[in-house]
Symmetry: C2
Subunit: 694 residues, 2 copies
């Protein structure tokens, strides 16, 4: 057997990037961050260890995750240096979300946290308040929740960090999006697919996504797979995913600082080279720089306790010293560990953070914690929308003409893309044509950086400048869209009804993010997540049972009414009005269900506007109860059900002479909910006026 070789470029990095003074500053900042990160897990008093540590200084319930915190603080510290030196605008996506202490600590230290959360100023008292709030109900989560400044990414359910980062980078050419990916998260399906996002980042139009794969070796108690791969295999895996990995490996801090600084400088340089080449030559996918950071789990923590190895082992995952309140050996080990960071040096005599820590902290306008991109509502501009009149179809006698329900919306999409060339994208898993939305391609093609063949030309829809994002990964698309919206832009995701279920858990979690965000005063409103659900259950008989599943409605219905809406437009014009309303709305997940096939048309644009505004209403033209109470009320929701209901109404009226039938069409499913349970629910009085008292 011969051996073929795959050639991967590996930079020869300088070994001493940092001069002694910068090295010292970085190490000091990092160690202070490690102290704060560790101490917030343990201390409820004696925040700077001015006294000997006593059991009563320790929190009663120890919560938090130490394991990845020192590595995260290390990354944050080094990003600060490169941001400062190279004047970068930066968004940080923290995948190992349970390591919140590792992010909160440097944010506190540099004073950014206190700027957002006023009761945590950079004083000893503010520090203690931070400790008290950490992992406490109503305080700060033990992972990167919406309450975390500078974050668009919830680290609870793993798998979406890189797709969020890529989505955030779209149309943000001057943004560095650093994305820490934990080696636990890297085992998930959604993360595994999202590496290929490298192939959808335009080298000049989009920002610079810098994945930092953090190999700290263990999950809760099992080794992580990627940390144990032979280095050659890991490098090949990244290369096959479109990334050139630069390795930073070890545990000796000063050496690690030099490696990390050199790696970051190299990444920035290479990205500039790629952009420069793209500015002057053909645009195509180039392998993008990334960093693999291999450092011990619980780095700088206690080496051993009770005969067990702690640093560098799975025992560092959560709280490495478990019983300092009751076990004197644990108390002593904790004190020794915490004092190793020299907390007494944190504050100067005036009670402020010592100026030594600020040498490499970026100016306020460039700080990670204060990035406007992480609070995208601050940047969000309303869509430049087109008048629906330009796309609405003529409808004469209701129920007599046929049209494709999605086709006019495809034209509206095209106009929206054209009118918002930097702030709107359309996402679909290769179903744009199938869902009869092909008109969108008149103003935005499919984004495609890989090679093109003669056999593609026929489709005519591929372009390096495309703004329609197609990939057969619902997870990646949903993640891209979430990242795009949370950084202040707009979008629509269209997919088959059955396969929207693939991203049920992502939609769940996005609903929770929105719900939590609305209660955080400093978070500004972001555009709603708009899911256009087509190829619905009724017409998928030929594709079989797997293609029929309307269950996502159940899932949306169990989420907070404040952030969810489910709309069933019965025809083309109501779809236009629904989508306009959804695209204008903020802080919601909107599920709009409509079939892609030809259907009877019922409503003019004006009627559609009134119907959508009300959410549900009587269709007089289909009813014959005009001068009396109805004998029967027929209610319908959605295109196919509406048609069937109208047919049933006709049968009924033919079968029973003089029967009075009223037809009610429901567009807003939650309009039917009990009054006050949902914001759009009709009142009991309105309900009775539509459906009668009995």
């Amino acid at each position: 057997m011969k051996m073929a070789t795959t050639t991967v470029p590996v930079p020869e990095l300088p070994v001493q990037v940092l001069r002694p003074e910068a090295l010292n500053s970085i190490d000091q900042f990092w160690r202070a961050s490690c102290y704060i990160a560790a101490a917030m897990i343990y201390l409820q008093d004696n925040a700077l260890l001015h006294e000997p540590l006593q059991p009563e200084h320790i929190k009663e319930r120890l919560l938090g995750h130490w394991g990845s915190s020192p590595g995260l603080a290390f990354i944050y510290t080094h990003l600060n240096r490169v941001i400062t030196e190279q004047s970068l605008d930066t968004l940080l996506v923290t995948g190992p979300g349970h390591g919140a202490p590792g992010i909160l600590a440097p944010m506190f230290l540099e004073g950014s946290y206190g700027r957002v959360v006023s009761d945590c100023p950079t004083t000893p008292k503010g520090l203690l308040e931070l400790f008290r709030r950490f992992s406490f109900p109503g305080g700060i989560g033990s992972h990167c929740t919406p309450e975390m400044p500078g974050s668009i990414h919830e680290g609870g359910e793993l798998g979406y960090s890189l797709s969020h980062a890529v989505g955030a980078a779209f149309d943000n050419p001057n943004l560095l999006v650093a994305c820490v990916i934990g080696d636990g998260e890297a085992e998930t399906g959604p993360l595994a697919a999202s590496w290929q996002g490298s192939r959808f980042l335009h080298p000049t139009r989009d920002g610079f996504v810098l994945p930092i794969l953090h190999l700290n070796g263990y999950k809760i108690s099992t080794p992580t797979l990627l940390a144990r791969l032979p280095k050659e295999e890991l490098r090949a895996l990244m290369f096959g995913n479109g990334w050139d990995a630069i390795f930073v490996e070890g545990s000796e801090p000063l050496d690690m600082h030099q490696q990390m600084a050199a790696a970051l400088d190299e990444c920035v340089r290479r990205h500039r080279d790629i952009r420069a080449a793209a500015s002057h030559g053909p645009i195509h996918h180039a392998s993008l720089p990334m960093i693999v950071l291999r450092s011990p789990k619980g780095w700088t923590g206690p080496a051993e306790l009770d005969g067990h190895r702690i640093e560098g082992s799975w025992r560092s995952h959560q709280v490495p010293i478990s019983n300092p309140r009751t076990n004197p050996v644990h108390l002593e080990a904790l004190e020794k560990w915490l004092r190793s960071y020299r907390p007494e040096e944190l504050f100067d005599t005036a009670g402020n953070i010592h100026e030594r820590y600020f040498r490499l902290v970026p100016p306020v306008s460039r700080r990670i914690a204060l990035s406007k991109h992480a609070n995208g509502g601050l940047l969000r501009q309303p869509l430049n929308s087109s008048k629906l009149e330009n796309f609405a179809i003529e409808v004469g006698q209701p129920g007599t003409s046929l049209a494709g329900n999605t086709t006019p919306f495809g034209e509206y999409l095209a106009a929206t893309l054209a009118n918002n060339p930097h702030t709107f994208r359309f996402f679909s898993p290769d179903e744009t044509l199938s869902n009869r939305l092909g008109a969108v391609f008149t103003s935005g093609k499919r984004m495609w950086l890989e090679s093109q063949l003669a056999s593609d030309l026929d489709a005519g829809e591929l372009s390096v400048d495309g703004r329609v994002m197609e990939l057969l990964s619902e997870h990646t698309l949903e993640g891209w869209l979430e990242g795009y919206l949370l950084t202040g832009r707009h979008g629509v995701f269209a997919t088959y009804e059955a396969f929207a279920n693939v991203v049920t858990s992502m939609i769940n979690q996005h609903c929770k993010w929105l719900e939590a965000s609305t209660e955080i005063p400093w978070r500004a409103d972001v555009s709603s997540l708009n899911l256009l659900i087509t190829s619905t259950v009724w017409r998928q008989d030929h594709n079989g049972f797997t293609h029929q599943d309307p269950g996502l409605v159940d899932v949306i219905a169990n989420k907070s009414p404040a952030v969810t809406r489910v709309l069933f437009p019965p025809d083309a014009n109501t779809l236009l009005v629904c989508m306009e309303e959804c695209l204008d709305s903020t802080n919601r997940v909107n599920l709009v269900v409509v079939d892609k096939q030809m259907h009877l048309q019922y409503t003019s644009l004006n009627e559609a506007r009134m119907l959508v505004e009300k959410g549900l209403d009587v269709w007089s033209w289909a009813s014959n109860d005009h001068d009396r109470m109805p004998d029967v009320v027929m209610a319908c929701c959605g295109d196919v059900a509406t048609k069937e209901t109208l047919a049933a109404t006709a049968l009924l009226r033919a079968a029973v002479s003089d029967i009075a039938v009223r037809v009610v069409n429901v567009i807003d499913l939650f309009g039917l909910a009990t009054y006050r349970e949902r914001p759009t629910a009709v009142s009991n009085f309105e309900f009775a006026s539509l459906f009668t008292e009995d």
Copy 2:
């Protein structure tokens, strides 16, 4: 920048493996299969083109997917050769499920389909019947549905082929599991993660999984990403995922036959080498052989039509010639295309398939279509179970003692692993210890083939012979378990309640598979899919909002009652009884929800048995309505709700003197459903006797 090289072994394959006679046989079989595959999409009469093709011979509605069918038939044909020559037992997993014609055709041709579906014998009449049934309600789906012989894999929702294949190979050392992965499916998250299954296949204990990544270049209308990767990057991607790719590329059939035969021979040889090395030396992960098959989409189909390229383009995806009934040019093109396969040679003068096609067809016992592994209920043996008495905890006065609800079940799991060393596995995303099921490790460690470090020893739970499957990919675990169950074995998947939602759509689709299977007479009963849901919503406050989501119950509740059960055992002994019942059951998805923390204990083992048998019952000891009708009935479901209900009952009795309170505990959620709606629902009479008439 220096260039590092990643070394990937590439075999030098012989170029002429097939002698002329074998080459001819293979090509004939394949071409006949292509004819049948194409014709089943189009013809409702004139099945062998004995007459000139007329519009009335064409089906009125053309359904089916031609695109990947010829490639699938090519793979099937070549597998037949290697199965025959090397006497292999083989299971085929067909990921590009919409290419069902490419699998049905060779199965019909070799006579296997007719053995399973008696009205499709290998006669011209049987052939026409196959055509009529294809993609017709009540007939055969246009993708690999449960009705497909030889299949454990539904090709509707993409992403799970390789995890199904790996699960099927576990503990089947003599089985070749060939797995065709479409390049569309390869873009999905679940598939992307599942490549790492290479690292969980034991070289001697498990079977030989052979992925065949089929690059046919296009999805519905967009190029596929992996087909456009530079070959070096694709090879690196596979290598990083643990596989050595052998490429078979081209379009010229005779050359492709030689390449494919050489590649298959090489894969079998290399797998034997890996196994031989493992039999005599240390066991570790070795890169496993796989095939990348690059062939044109719609291979051998019409080259062009209406000025558009068809073969090798996305226009081959579904029905490449769209209007042969009404467009004479299309009719002529269709006839020319179909006649290119020489259908008149299919049958001999006696009306049987000509013997020329049988030269490389395996004996009946080895045919893919007839594999017992694909109808796993035929191989399934009941579990060797242990008496619950060995694990039950003593419960004195109800509600007075505390125990961990999951701990005794962990011991039961250990015994089950020990008693069923080849037919039971336990699956969890690194949550076995967290969910307090660590006792399982006393008889089965975590399966781990990569390197081990001193810092792992402390956990003491890694072994190449392990039978606990941990990976932080719910998708991969769920897919492994489905593959394991559908091939006749048993298992349990334990995971956090919130993150069970990650696999909502997979559970959905498995429910549908089971529901459809129960209506297929030849499908034997398979073990139920048992989901143990722990770390439930009530106790995840410290982990935050993301870790709280009980929504999977909604999803299970919208699936067929015949194949679903949701159980809420309130304590440790009821959990044991529930799990025993679930592990004994067949053809269901069982969701068992129980919290991992310490809880009050209420029921002895005997009481637990009665309670689980009934599904819901009055708890007399907690009620005081013994001699009269209750004033209040308090119903509870699940451990935490039960405790809260009992506390509320106590408060109520303290607050209202002489109040008669009845407590009803519900274990089987669907026991409460309307009678006849669910198989375990109580009757109206029983309901009234529990809850009173009013």
